[in-house]
Subunit: 418 residues, 2 copies
């Protein structure tokens, strides 16, 4: 099927899904999870082909994002099951007023309609996105990356088998056939056929959507996340947070890319940082973190000299840009100039400084004394997530079920005129 | 100043407005209202020039939208004052959870930042938009229509004088100098400098924004609104509602453009409709409504034969397209095919039919037994409004202060890592 034909099929499937109650949607999700496990062998075979084709063309970190195994398939099925028991976001009365003229005005949550998701290497996004779309009453049109296409196709087939068994049209879950740039552009410009487009991927994909999309679009994911270690930081805590934010999973968008250190604590903190992230890791046989240092940091510890671009880059790797700043205001200014508005953190024991930071930093998630790695639908209690919005319209931060809904006003009268 | 210079000035003014508390914003709004009244003569002189230039180039209905007088200026000032006493939408804690790991996750409302509004003939939009933007902590960049430019400029000068007296930078309210298509395009593509673009105007403007905008954009206003008179309608009520929806102010977006009548009541209803909207109005010296009838309606009453385009047009005039339908499902189908998703109404005494209609009609406002003319921020209790969204993302229906805000997550921990 062409992308246009898929979009028309998606439109036709809308009414049946909108009419499905919570019970029917939950049953479909459980059937999808079962079907994923049943088709595990097919999915792994497809993933093996994807991995074989990708080997040598991408970094180990990116290969890890592409790889599936039985554990990850089980995790995908668990993720789908978790969505099945989340509260149905559709049909909630969000507000109700009776006006002086006797009109009853109700605001009721409704699905968006057709949600398109363009994503890159991680194939498990397929089931996450399909599950969240289904529970929120939205037909989804998925478009995976070229490296993961075979995996995504096998996962989609399994999911469609599941929804079909549960009595919903299989066209409530759709995968665009092929991964050409033209197919992405076709989604971006399908005005009237797509109610929301969510690009999940690298900066290039996001930029293409911003520049070309004529359908409503949410920017997601690009994370140049900062941790600022304040003069009043607990330096042990700061070390743990920076290590976790940088090294626990460097390939994801909520990983730290830039460390800012107050000049008063830099001489004591940076040598400990180098020991923890470089020396200890090397001694333990782990990948040491490459430190890219501004001039002031380079005067304290050895490392690579940071180039200008190093403070505007999502490394997604064991690389950390480090700058020394004179005060919290300078840290806030640096973040305003370089952050992608995803997740930024301060480590400080000073409540006043923390309040200044959280008020001024204009990012989706602003942390005090915690790792940026928590910006995640699951960690925020949303079940799982459709992506992390870095724009301010509609949804910001992790998008769960509620963020995949719109609302409408229903007004009941007895003949009121104006 | 060039548009780009204005946008940079707007960016510089953001921090001062974001830091202003409720009291300071309210004081600024009262000063803006006072300044509007003080500068009434300047505004009327500018409006006289606009009216003189426009005469002969637009319909009487459109001229009425452009015209200001002392009463309308007083109404503008009152509108600004009403916003001053509305609840501050910024800084509200929208949700708070403590996670099992001890993280406290708060969702807090914040301004969007810089909001641009492109509008057409009604100059009073200038003060409405500026007031709502200011109370919601947003710097506004306004771009009026070429017919109303002198009026908008005079109003903006008065408003800037007001905010300046209240101790805020006058650059929190800005008007683009000139009304060329290039200036509109410059706003549509000012990525990174505009957080939200709201086009308020005709279908051509909305389409241009959808096709060209690279900044987040909300479609507003185009209203092909339907009233469906059901088999089980109270026909007296239906007549009052249709008359009000069509004739009380035909130039606005919530006016009715299309009437659908159940075939069982069409023979009794349509002659009474013609009497009320055509004959009675003509006899009273009012503009009679031109009825554009489909074949079935034309078999019952005299009128103009409807062309295909008549069911897809926002007349904004004393014109009503009329079709006879076999049942509520056909009415729902017609609305799905032709509505702009603004406001659609059913008149019926049958609760089951009403429920079917409100569930299936996918518009911002769905009415039972009331006029579509109520779709309005004031009538909905929002104070005044920034426009009426006909898209599903972010805001739907009348946009008030809350709809001009985003949110951010503030996460407080004591060293949590993942």
């Amino acid at each position: 099927m062409t992308t246009h034909e898929i979009l028309l099929a998606a439109q036709r499937a809308k009414a049946a899904l909108a009419a499905a109650d919570t019970e029917k949607k939950s049953a479909a999700l459980l059937a999808m999870a079962d079907s994923l496990l049943e088709h595990g062998a097919d999915i792994l075979a497809a993933n093996d082909q994807d991995m074989a084709a990708a080997k040598g063309t991408m970094s180990d970190v990116m290969l890890d994002r592409l790889r599936l195994d039985e554990g990850r398939i089980a995790a995908m099925a668990d993720g789908v099951r978790q969505v099945a028991v989340l509260p149905d976001p559709v049909g909630r009365v969000l507000s109700h007023v009776e006006r002086p003229n006797g009109l009853h005005i109700e605001r009721v949550s409704v699905p968006l309609g057709v949600v398109a998701i363009i994503y890159e290497s991680r194939p498990n996004v397929t089931s996450d996105a399909a599950a969240l779309a289904l529970m929120s009453g939205n037909v989804c049109v998925l478009r995976g990356g070229k490296e993961s296409w075979r995996s995504c196709d096998a996962i989609t087939r399994a999911l469609r088998t599941g929804v079909s068994r549960a009595g919903l049209p299989e066209d409530v879950i759709n995968l665009v056939q092929g991964t050409s740039r033209a197919s992405a552009n076709e989604l971006m410009t399908a005005s009237g056929l797509i109610d929301l487009l969510i690009p999940r991927g690298g900066a290039g994909l996001i930029r293409a959507c911003v520049e070309n999309a004529t359908v409503p679009c949410i920017q997601t994911g690009t994370g140049i996340c900062h941790v600022y270690v304040d003069r009043d930081a607990d330096l042990d805590m700061a070390l743990d947070i920076v290590e976790n934010a940088k090294t626990s999973r460097p390939s994801v968008c909520n990983a730290e890319e830039v460390l800012l250190v107050h000049e008063a604590v830099a001489p004591s903190f940076l040598p400990r940082l180098k020991e923890r992230l470089v020396d200890d890791r090397a001694a333990a046989g782990q990948v040491p973190v490459e430190l890219r240092l501004d001039e002031k940091a380079a005067a304290i510890i050895p490392g690579t000299a940071a180039g200008e671009g190093d403070f505007d880059q999502e490394f997604l790797d064991y690389i950390l840009a480090v700058a020394v700043v004179p005060d919290v205001a300078a840290a806030i200014g640096h973040i305003a100039a370089h952050s992608t508005g995803h997740s930024d953190a301060i480590v400080t024991k000073n409540a006043h400084t923390a309040a200044q930071f959280t008020a001024a930093v204009d990012s989706a998630a602003v942390y005090v004394n915690a790792s940026t790695r928590f910006t995640d639908g699951g960690e925020f209690g949303l079940g799982c997530e459709m992506g992390i919005s870095t724009q301010k319209l509609h949804a910001r931060g992790p998008m769960g079920l509620v963020e995949l809904c719109s609302y409408k006003y229903v007004i009941r009268g007895d003949g009121q005129v104006r």
